[in-house]
Symmetry: D2
Subunit: 378 residues, 4 copies
């Protein structure tokens, strides 16, 4: 069944296996006239790419995206944008020894049940390599959606048992994370994360983490009520990232233990415009953006691949020990490299919601960009 | 934009406003031959209905569902199933006094921005009354999906600051919750929840809660990899319920702080069939069901409507105090009545995934119901 | 599988069987603020309704539509519009005698093969009664789409072997058809059609016909290239009407025999705006509307139900004679009553395309309503 | 808006401009285990490719398809299949002289109105070059759908004013057409078509044609009633091919002038199985396949590009003469090269319907392949 696409209006289809020739994406629905070139793609891909430092999988991929269609003289033309990223370091032979064993925490058990074949080449479509396509599509979405002034920021807020220092200013935090090898929001959190990662690696184990995201300057009015709520689509998108196990928006799970009198955001004026005076809601009311920052968290489980031996079964159902070969390529914490993927998915949901809103807005609607009714009655 | 429907194959469209004549749903895609009658509908609707006890909104609705099409002699015919529920106690006059104020925590601010009009009749489509349609559609989904032996169970695991006693057996817990006025999983949790609710009501305040759900006997192989992951669609569905702020599957957010060596579920044999030997995964690997129980949690914020006065603005942007009229109808904790809605959405996601799987299953696939490869090689 | 809905943005779901309690439709995606009331619905339904005159099925249906949601004080609110039409004259007993025979030209053979049951109650969803829902939805579409100034006109251009006098002015023709019992475009065609219909009825036979449609004042720029071409969606919509066997746009099949030099429409100026100087194209170039009238034809086969005895098989495969009971209700020519359904589907395709265009239009686009580039260079 | 994809379950997305680097397609939803290789692709692409003979555009394209994903050891894996075809002979400079003129019959007028820019590079996405992607996707569909025994055949039945000799046996006709430079069904029709084409070319003009298609051995039960009728989706697909102006199924427009007594197909037995005894219906009843051959016709207008000078306007609205430069590349009759595209779209609709049917088929359904109820009662 066709299930490798995301988005209703700004829709992309991702293709390619971890150990095939290439991965890629076709973005269908991006408006014309948006600046886009391969340099932008490659900067974003580099951030997600493995092999950059001590803390990520040593797989070496240049991850150079080629723009094959939909762009003319540096601008989108409104036609589908095809992006191709060649796989260079696809060593499927590394997986052959471990082929006939069920891998704890991995999807090869469920793929076998669903499709009747056993992929031993590094995960196929279940591999995090598929997220390369998401990052590439996310660049296109960013180029379009950022024209409204919106910005998506993300960083790693928790890594294993380490929590980052509470972030005051998401912009500073995200700027720091952009160049941090562990996408930490500041220098002391980075040190703590790296210390925990070193420990995890020494133990030949893995750990998880929690990505924090902020969507700034979101236009008011995005998202449709009932089933296409802005945060429902965000949850859908973010929970499709490999290894994600939890999602929350605004005050999230903590809201459940609070009181309405404290959590209800009041209203106030900002430059003559009515705005929420607090943001426990996380930028959405009734599934529609309020214009305040949309923020939330996404939890990632520990990387399934670990260096330690694990009990499992072989395909005949006989007990076996699964151990990755020495020098196998994997990340001690997938949440680190998930950060740019979280950003990409936020951009993609935002771009889709922006186009959706265009189709909704009637002449009776107020401009999406601002709610100008203060002072002039209604 | 058309956005009042959910599901790809087992798809329903919900309609109706809180204070209009009726609410309803059309279920499109339910296979033929499934037992369905109005009695089943009404039992389920009764559970969600307001006015049943001290702890829910005193709005009185009989919530009798009428089956208008798609059923012949007690069985579905494969054609669309139209269900209509008349609104009886729609007192929109009760809202007139509070009309010209922005209500903290409510969607009337965002609806005004998006659509350019101000609904003062009790929430319109943003009202929890819309969830009546979900519960009705959920009955149809249950009738279909339970034929595979699957069961959906839910209860309230947390209410405000009170946590239920950890549940050993979801079946017992859900059976208790079915008749508990606060959908608590056992008698002592019920007492604690009621005590906190009484306190909240005395304070004219509101609180939130966390619904726990369990999908038992899920066939292995449901969900499509990449974007239609089983738990991504669950998140999408559950985060569309009014007031939901967080979702997690399996070990959830706690998984982020753990280690792979402990959280990876190993494999074992059960009656000669290979199965996961643990279930930190929450019944999904790579987005595809493992055959183990799918379980998770959904957080709900406190009810936005509270008895206490709240600072806000009027539509001219002037400071005002918003206070519900004495005797206004609202729930002190919407999470209580959300429990049957959570169940309904789980059934709907499950029914959709079952039909989706039919289109996927090729002759190369193993039967979805069991993974019979143990002992016979591959 | 969910397949009872049409439209991407302006989407409706139809429900109800020919001989059940009611038929209905939910229109999802209609913008807010559009005038709509039950009187409009009922005028349109009356036109399609049976039992109006000698030439249509004597089934008596008042076909009163009830507006259950989505409208407040005579205007749409942007929420789903639910319309219910009760079946009053559903005499399924009339069909009992003929139950165990395959009916030539009818869908009960294919329904039996597809669903495994044999509907002997007058066609179920395959019945033309389903088109009541289309007409109701079409009224909503008309109310929205006519705000752009567009108009949909239709009449019967051919009935059996009789061809209407070539139409000079579609408006006059459609106005005449509106009150003609056979939807003929003028008095002499009406006489010819009625004469042929009388002959057909005397022979206890049936015949077909060709509906002509014209969409006037279509904005330029509707339809998306490649797969969502305006006329491809029209063909999709119109070929879904029961008994339709052919579709053409503009010069249609005749174009195949022509020469490019004659059929290519040149360009000219009209009130300073560039427009096509001819309209062999039928108002579309590359699948996008040119602003000229979109026109075409839809062919309908003869009514399958006839008074003459027909050879067939019973459900045991034994030869049998199928003969409708004396006084059975059917139309001698379904094309007659298809005319308002053709109109409805044209409005629905147009409404959908208008919303689609909103999502497409970028700041680089020229206004859809007119192409103002003449004289000012580019 | 995302509009470059077709199909619900077996879905493909096409990308690439006529004069860009490459065109391509991603097929999402093809089941696993289907034989597929580049040789198959290239044979099909060669048939559609230009530059093969005197009667087609002299543009030289090797049209070698590269399979980038979704295939392992010669079989599909169930993951998206990405196919890339490099453009080699993309001479956009040839178009520069004619850039500032509106081209009669072409889509550059409507593209300008819709998107606000004027593509002078040979048609972009409106170019017939996009159909390369359809043919490539059609090969994948064929590989899957032909496993049921189905076959799609097509040939040119009419070219300009020349009609082919009526075809007795579609298989022989299609086999002849496969190697005929004008896709004629037999030697004498081929001679007539070629004679007319020569005349057209001498006159520096163009003409149209009508493709006939036959889908043999279609399983009974495909297509969903109401809106996803098999022939409604065929019409949708076929009317999306550039230059198509008409579609009919079975007896088509001629049926409108007939009588029910003659056109209703009776039923009979074939090898103990109940089947329609005639096929005026064209293999569908109520939108569901009967198991008989699905057949119909698609009309194509004359090629818009002609050698003769044509009156038009420039972009300032000033009268101008449009004349293609000497040696410009175009086909005298696009219908010729449309034949393999018609075949491809039929395969794609069939593949989609086969997957759709899997999701529909319940345990109550009879097997799709045969209707075995003869003799055994019901």
């Amino acid at each position: 069944m066709a299930s490798n696409a995301f988005g209703l209006f700004f829709r992309y289809t991702s293709w390619g296996e971890s150990h095939g020739q290439a991965v890629g994406v076709v973005v269908d629905g991006c408006p014309a006239g948006i600046p886009l070139d391969e340099k932008m793609l490659n900067e974003a891909l580099a951030r997600r790419a493995p092999g950059r430092n001590y803390f990520t999988s040593p797989r070496r991929e240049e991850d150079q995206g080629r723009l094959l269609s939909g762009v003319f003289e540096g601008r989108t033309t409104g036609t589908p944008i095809s992006i191709l990223i060649t796989n260079r370091d696809a060593r499927s032979s590394a997986y052959e020894l471990i082929a006939p064993l069920l891998r704890p925490g991995h999807a090869n058990f469920t793929y076998l049940a669903k499709y009747g074949y056993f992929d031993h080449q590094g995960g196929g479509r279940a591999s995090a390599r598929e997220t390369t396509a998401r990052v590439a599509a996310g660049v296109v979405a960013r180029q379009f959606a950022s024209e409204t002034g919106s910005r998506v920021l993300a960083y790693l807020g928790e890594l294993g048992t380490s929590q980052a220092t509470p972030v005051e200013d998401p912009e500073t935090a995200a700027a720091y994370a952009l160049q941090s090898p562990v996408h930490a929001p500041d220098v002391s959190s980075e040190a703590a994360f790296m210390e925990e990662l070193r420990l995890v690696m020494e133990e030949k184990d893995s750990t998880g983490g929690v990505a924090h995201f902020h969507i700034l300057n979101t236009p008011v009015g995005l998202g449709d009520p009932v089933y296409e709520k802005f945060h429902a689509r965000l949850a859908y998108a973010l929970m499709s990232i490999p290894a994600s196990k939890g999602f929350e928006i605004g005050a999230g799970f903590a809201a459940a233990a609070g009181r309405g009198s404290r959590l209800n955001d009041s209203f106030g004026l900002r430059e003559g415009v009515v705005v929420p005076a607090g943001n426990n809601a996380g930028g959405v009311l009734g599934g529609i953006t309020t214009g305040e920052t949309v923020y939330g968290r996404v939890a990632f489980k520990p990387t399934s691949s670990i260096g330690l031996p694990q009990n499992t079964l072989d395909l005949q159902g006989k007990p076996a020990t699964f151990q990755l070969p020495e020098g196998s390529r994997h990340d001690p914490c997938v949440a680190v490299r998930a950060v740019p993927v979280v950003e990409a998915m936020c951009w993609l949901v935002l771009a889709d919601a922006l186009l959706m809103q265009k189709a909704v807005a009637s002449q009776n609607s107020r401009p999406v960009a601002a709610l100008p009714f203060a002072g002039d009655g209604l």
